[in-house]
Symmetry: C2
Subunit: 225 residues, 2 copies
DNA sequence: ATCCTTTTGTGAACCGATGCACAAAGTCAC
DNA sequence: GTGACTTTGTGCATCGGTTCACAAAAGGAT
């Protein structure tokens, strides 16, 4: 069903998509330093990947390099940005203004990538009305109305675990189909809704696993016996 | 080299390690609700994975289930905790007390998993001495001394991008071999040092990519599913 | 003690991702 | 224009991870 060797085959591998932001970050740095073109080898080093992988990834977007020369930095930034959908402006809402919600609201990496924090919600009347990173905290009762009014299409959940599923259900009912979940729970959503999760403690646990290995392991096992 | 079919083969796949914390979280919830045993099917649902995968993952740790019955919740919690190295206490230091650093210092998910925030550092004299989540912020000059004195083995970097590599070099020189990096840069470290990175904006970019697809994509290409 | 039910643990097929290695395609110097 | 050189784009082998599907193991009923 799919044309086997189409230059802009729509089926970009998930693993590639996950690396495109990495390339973009490296390219932005180069553009700032005035670099005009870059080879796959150099860009791969800057992004922390292997150059064959980088070239294969980029080839999924099309043939944007010049053999013998490399890639034009500006042009590649544009192509990757467009592919990721960063050439448009995304209205993002953050729900939950605890420590993490505040940190996210003030995080520069969002704004600089085409994301606009359009609203911030909390259930606690104590913080509703507060000013967080230049935004007025709104009451969670306004969730659906504000999402619709401001065209929010991506919601970031930074609520306590116990509240996450309920808020999730509400934003989904309001038409949101992309959710970034920081609450340590598995969210249940209908088909067609994308949920990505970030669990800060999981990464630390993975590090602990490897650290323990270096130190000798639970049974000081050298061999599996 | 390695015994091919040993029940406690030390070589646990990376993908499995990354899911163990997920199982652990689900199991903790069950233990709290008084559940004594759980089938792979139920646990898989609670953790948001497929049950065959769950069983294969657990089989890498050993044979801890009972056919026809399932897994003993308490026992499995212990086995996974031990495998991940969470039965010991890990001293963690956080460098950088911006919004994110503060959020991390106050994050309950660390403490409840065997991680102890042993120190918090910043370079800004303005915040040094402040109290963050019950901890005294120390000056970055004290980095090496404090790491050694308090036996810190894992460092969390929440510094600005520009400072991350330098701090990284210093903690590595001080003997730290596990680093969790929140700064949006690729860190260069010697062999034997583990770096895991969390880039909050990458997840959002991946969501944007898929959201754009749903909406029609850059060239209005209809996805063949 | 035997049969029936449940659920684990795993062999084997499958699938996607990785990395090597090289031909093709381009640049640059002369 | 020619030849030397550089670097891309990709075919192919390989690898690790996922999923299916089922035999083996345990418990409960009679």
């Amino acid at each position: 069903m799919k044309s086997p060797s189409h230059p802009r085959d729509r089926g970009i591998p998930e693993a590639t998509v996950a690396r495109l932001p990495l390339y973009l970050r490296a390219l932005h740095g180069m553009a700032e330093r005035g670099v005009a073109t870059v080879s796959s080898e150099d860009l791969a080093v800057a992004a922390g990947v292997n150059s064959a992988k980088l070239r294969k990834d980029l080839s999924h977007l099309g043939s944007y390099g010049t053999r013998g020369v490399g890639y034009d930095v500006e042009y590649l930034v544009y192509q990757i940005s467009r592919e990721l959908g960063l050439t448009q402006d995304w209205a993002v809402a953050i729900v939950g203004v605890g420590n993490l919600g505040r940190a996210l609201a003030g995080y520069g990496g969002f704004v600089s990538r085409g994301f606009r924090i359009a609203a911030v919600f909390d259930a606690d009347p104590e913080v509703v009305g507060d000013d967080i990173a230049g935004l007025n905290v709104e009451h969670i009762d306004e969730l659906e109305a504000v999402i619709e009014r401001r065209g929010v299409s991506i919601v970031v959940l930074a609520t306590p675990a116990a509240a996450a599923q309920e808020v999730c259900d509400r934003v989904v009912a309001a038409g949101v189909t992309s959710i970034l979940n920081f609450a340590p729970v598995v969210l249940t959503v209908p088909d067609g809704v994308d949920v990505r999760k970030v669990d800060l403690s999981i990464e630390l646990q993975i590090l602990a696993f490897h650290e323990q290995r270096k130190a000798g392991g639970p049974l000081m096992a050298v061999d599996s016996q």
